[in-house]
Each structure stands twice: as C-alpha cells, then as structure tokens.
Symmetry: D2
Subunit: 222 residues, 4 copies
Amino acid sequence: MPEVVILINLKTYNEGLGQRAHRIAGAAEEVAAESGAVIGICPQPMDLHPLARHFEVPVFGQHVDGVAPGASTGHVTAEALKAAGAAGSLVNHSERRLTLAEIEASVRACERTGLSSVVCTNNVMTSAAAAALGPNFVAIEPPELIGSGISVAKADPGIIKGSVEAIRKVNDSVRILTGAGIQSGECVRIATELGTDGVLLASSVVKAADPAAVLRDLVSQL
Amino acid sequence: MPEVVILINLKTYNEGLGQRAHRIAGAAEEVAAESGAVIGICPQPMDLHPLARHFEVPVFGQHVDGVAPGASTGHVTAEALKAAGAAGSLVNHSERRLTLAEIEASVRACERTGLSSVVCTNNVMTSAAAAALGPNFVAIEPPELIGSGISVAKADPGIIKGSVEAIRKVNDSVRILTGAGIQSGECVRIATELGTDGVLLASSVVKAADPAAVLRDLVSQL
Amino acid sequence: MPEVVILINLKTYNEGLGQRAHRIAGAAEEVAAESGAVIGICPQPMDLHPLARHFEVPVFGQHVDGVAPGASTGHVTAEALKAAGAAGSLVNHSERRLTLAEIEASVRACERTGLSSVVCTNNVMTSAAAAALGPNFVAIEPPELIGSGISVAKADPGIIKGSVEAIRKVNDSVRILTGAGIQSGECVRIATELGTDGVLLASSVVKAADPAAVLRDLVSQL
Amino acid sequence: MPEVVILINLKTYNEGLGQRAHRIAGAAEEVAAESGAVIGICPQPMDLHPLARHFEVPVFGQHVDGVAPGASTGHVTAEALKAAGAAGSLVNHSERRLTLAEIEASVRACERTGLSSVVCTNNVMTSAAAAALGPNFVAIEPPELIGSGISVAKADPGIIKGSVEAIRKVNDSVRILTGAGIQSGECVRIATELGTDGVLLASSVVKAADPAAVLRDLVSQL
C-alpha cells in the first residue's frame, strides 16, 4: 500500500489555536503511530514553532511567499518556515489565492529550502496547470464544497478523476490530495481509489470534540 | 509560411491614447495589408470601442476579468469586450497579474464569448502552466527584459526555446508569442525560428515617431 | 434647495451594457432636464466614450487607478477617463477595493485631471478616513445592504447620520452620497434630510423595465 | 519627558531570523532598561511566540488581518497574535498594503483583543486618513526613503511636520511615529522635536554588527 497522507488545516479556527492546536497535534501523532498513515498539521504561523518542537508529526505552513528574505514586511518566507521547523507549506489555498507567478515562486522557494509544497487548486484545468509547476503535491478542492459538509469524494468524484487524469498528462510524479467536505474513512478510501494519495481537510477534525476519534475513522478503511 | 502575429500593447502610454491610438491602429492596418502579417492592437479600454469601429485590425483588451456579468463594479467582462468589438484580450499581463483561478476563469470567459485569450507568463514553468489552461495564446515575457530595450530573442533565446518545449509537452495547439524588448525584424525572425508564432510588444511601436516604419521593419524578415 | 445628485452605477450588468446603457443614459438625461437633479451614470469602461459623446448627463468611471500614464497595462488612468469624456470616477467601490495609498493616489489623479472623485466607503470610520483624503464626494455603502433591496436610508439611518457627523469633523466641504438598497423617492428624501447630497444606486434603475419611471420616482420628493 | 517609542521592524531579513532575532531582542531589552525608552520589536510570525516568551520587550506582529477567526487559511488574526504574546501589530506596512476597509477592520480587531495598532502611511493625506480610523499609532514612512539610508527626519522634515498637523486636526490622542532612513540619535531627536512620539526603523538596527550600539546611539539625544 502506498503511503497515504492526511493533512489537517487548522485555518484560523479558535478550536485550532494555541493549546488546542497542541491537542490536535497530539491526536495526529497518536493516530499516525497506530496506523502508519502520514498525518500532517497546518497551524497558524505563531503556533508553528512550538508545535514543530513538541511533536513528531510534520508541520506545514498555511501559506508561503516566494520572496527572497529581505525587505518584505508581513510576508512568510520559506526560509523562516524552515527555520521554525516546518516540513512544508500549503500554497495558494482558496482562502489565500496567489498569482500564477507567485505560486511558481513559492514552489521554487520551497524547493530551495527543502520544504514540501502543496499547491491548492479549484478545478481540473487549474490542477493540471499547478502540476506543470512541479510542486510536491497538488491538492484539489472545489470551492463550492469547502466547509459544506458534503464530501467531494462522494458528491463530485468526476472532478477528482478528471483532475488525476489531467495532472498525469502533465506530471508523472506529483502527489495528489483531494479536499473539501472530507469527513470519514469512506471519503478517504474513495479518494485513494480514485488515484489520489490522500486528503486535505479542516473543520471535521479541528472542530471535533474528539479529534483522535475522527482521525481513527479517517484511516480506518485503508 | 504560417501566419505571424504582431500584437501591439499600447499600455497606458500617452503616446497610445485617443487620437494617437487611432494613428497607431492606422499604421497597423496599412502594414498588415502590405505584409499579410496579423497585426493586432491592445488599447486602453475607453479607446477600444472607437478603434474597433474604425479599423480592420483585430483589437484586444489589455485585461479581462473572468467574472460573470452582474455585481462586479470596476471589472472588465468578456461580454463587454465582445460587445465593444474586441477580438480577444491579454490575460495576466505582468503589470496586471491575476491568481491562477482568475486566469482560468478569464480563459473560460473568453472561450464562452468567442474571444481569443492571450495569457502572459514570466518563465518556462509558468508558460507550461498557462498552456495547461487551454488558452488561444501563451505570451512569454521575462519581466526583467520588459521595456529594457534588450530583446528577449537575442538576450535570452534559451527561455523561448525552453518555454516552447515545455508548452508543447502540455499542449499541442496553443499558439506562442514572445515579448520583452522586441524592436526589429531580426527579433521577430529569431522568435519565429525558435518555434513561436509572433511577438507581443509595446514601447518600440507606441513611442516611435513613425509607427508604420517600425512595423514595416518588424515584418521585414518574414 | 441645494443640488441633489443621483449617481447610477451600471456595474457589469447585462441590462446596462451597450445599447441598454444608452437607453438608461437617455432616461437619465430626460429626468435630469425635468427635475433639475444632477443624474450621473457610471458605465462599463468600453461604453464610456460613446455615452459621453451622445448624452448630456455626466458620465463617471467605475474605477480609476492613480498611476501615471505609462507602463501599467490593464489599468484605467484618470488621463484616459478624461480623454474619453468622463466627468469623474468612482474610487474604491466595495466590488473593487483599493489600498489606502491607492485611493489617495486616485483622488490626486482625479484632481490633477479635473475629474470628480467619489470615494466609496463601508462604515462611519472609513467614511471619515476617506473624507480626510479630500475627494469631491464620499459615498457610504454598508456592504451588507448593497443589492439587498433593503434601503440604507430606512434600515440604518444611524450609519448615515454617524458618517455625516464623522465626515464633517474632518472635512467641511466634501459632498456626501449614500447607497445600498436605494429604490424610491422616499429613500432619497430621507438621505438628503440626514444631511447627504444624494445617492449612489444600481440595480433598482439598471434592472428596471422602465428606468425613467424609477428615476422620476427617485426625484419626486425633493 | 514623554515616553519615546523605538519600534524595530525585523522584516524578513536573514539577520533578524531565529537566533539572530533573539540577539536583537536581547539588545533591545538591555538598552530599554538603561534608557527608559520603549523599544519594541516586530519579528517574523514564526519567531513571535518564542520572543514573547523569552524577552521583556513588547513584541509586535508585522501584519494583522482584521478577519474573525475561522475559515481564513493563511491569515494572521489578532486573536492568534494575542495568544502568542504580542503587544500589538503593524498594519498596512508599505510592503504589505491593505485596502481601507481592511485597515479599519485590522484596527478594530486589535482594539477588540487588546493589541496596539500601528498603521503605516506614506504621506500627509494618508496619515490624516489613518488617524481618522482611531488606531493607537500612525507611522509615517515616505516610501522613497525606506531603506535609502537617507533619514526622513533630515531629508523631509516637512512631511513629518505636515503629517503631525494634519493628524492633530483629525485625532488628538493618536501617537505618531516616523520612519524611513532613521539611523542615529540625531534622527530620533529631530523626529521627537517635530512632534512625534518616536520612530519605526529596520535595516540600521537589524543589519548592524552591534545592534545594542546602534540602539544606544538612537536614544542618546533624548
């Protein structure tokens, strides 16, 4: 079985801030150890350093600017993410869109600093375009399903299938995640059966009363 | 000989505004008729309607938003460009960058309304990505050479060659323009010999004392 | 009675494009002549030149960039608006927000070219801030009421009153418009009674079967 | 003598990252204790939490988004800054410009969470506008002098004087900083003599071989 990746985006939810981020990271560490899945966590930037110090799970930025270190106040450089202990970063999340030139620069900045880049996209064509930039991951998230409670894996398997096909024509080796509405082990199983390497998800873990239980369910059908 | 395309971007230069835009369009019409080259012109939006009415040359928008008509004050829709007589539009020019999702939406909006889309890019990787979106044209313009007076065709033929190769892996049929520093017939000849379909240029025509003479030189080695 | 201003934003509505824009401008011209109100119209940029040529009513841009003419592809300069016959421009409409520095630059560009600037704002504090920039008009539009069919004049007179007070502390001479949900003569009367100089509105005129009838109603209680 | 504020923006300089940020914070702590000046530090976001834990000096964000916690991946909320131990945040730095509505929302978010807001501006008019939003500080930085090595205090005292006057007409109590090219005790003295409360500076401290020595010089003429 190829390695499955579960990436938890804490967004700016209160439920994923500070000590509550630590609690989710702890759950991720536990379930990753039990299951063999790779479970990563994307905290808010001020939580990144403490989480990377205290937990074994890979910690990702939610956003990275492809600028070189210097006169760029208020930006997040790949160098700073790396120094804080990050393993990678989301790029171009639907809530933090970038220009095409910026996405490419962010992917190159990750490459240069040894971070994994996860470029988020919204449909088949943009997924193919993102794959052409040579990131480590493309994460397809139809915006209309994000936070909807309706799983892309069940509601729109066609967009996953179409994206996988379009991506593979352009790039053989990029890994593919799907997101939007992912909430159960069935969603994860369908996503992997459709040719992806895992999922990117947020509220169903972050807002859960028992994040470890949700994570256990997510990896249960692998 | 395949059809060669010369696309003149008037930017917001005073030399390309109002009656001065008409003068350049007249020169384009004349040289296009003489040479058989396709010479298009990208005026400022308020000049688009009068130019499209008075001249035979194809008129392009400098920018198009992929939004549907409606509550989007201050945007330029494909529908409005079409209604004004445009043949197409630049998308994602280096002076008007868009997010990846917006570029894709602009290309689709052009498709839907029968406009030619010309997606501008800055390097090999973004050119391949743009090609994956299925526009009519990709126009490669290394930003460091724009307005430099140094022709990309002479200074950096490698970026053109690399882009053509990367684009062709992704998309067989998209047409390719090159830009940045283009100023003579030799530049145009080199650009086409490297596998592109023509050039996108601005200041060397717009600021010329005699635009027709510059245009005649540009098509002289085809 | 001080001069009342009715400013009609055509947005990118299909109902306000091309010949349909001409129809609305004709209605505006007619009702302005009958009533003595100033009725302006903000068309899409490609319609601006023909409308300014054919009608007596003042024509405004929906957006203006404060950049100097030159290498700014896809931007709308004050110089180009002026050359096309515009009387002024909206700045910072809620659907086309600008940075503070850009708003100030746009106001200065309007000043320099003899255009009236209408800076749009969303609440009491931003209205005071906009007034401090010295534009010709501040137009207050609570975003939650735009296009809602609920008139700001009736639903939230407090925001109008508060904004007028806050603006007057900062700037004695700027004229004030209110917008969002404006649809009847009663709205316009309330708006002027609260100390403003008129209204900025869109859908209730643009989408009307009989724009002249709506305009007649709007000025009926003055 | 009123309290003087020295705010050090580490930008994304390598010289201000990780352990090197700790070194500068240590110098700030030392010189603040010696001089009685308030010396604050604005690190990159991943360094904020460790610095706030280890040092007594106030730590500021370089940027804050005025969004409520929730679905805003890649944003920096006031709540997260507060939780990490920040005392305040820059808002609208020239390298991270925001829309007027966003600036106002950021100032309100700081207010709501008990953070000091420092709104950066570029000229006299935008300084007055920023003051109308009711932040704790306005920091005036003429962009052409930032990083120039030419001090605004010496090169353009008029912009400081003009800004102080324009700000005071709008807001009695906001504190005022000046920035751009500040590098010596003389600059700080002039800035305070012109009616401001201190300075915002970056490279002259961050890139110094001996930051404590530069800081000692900065407070030497108070």
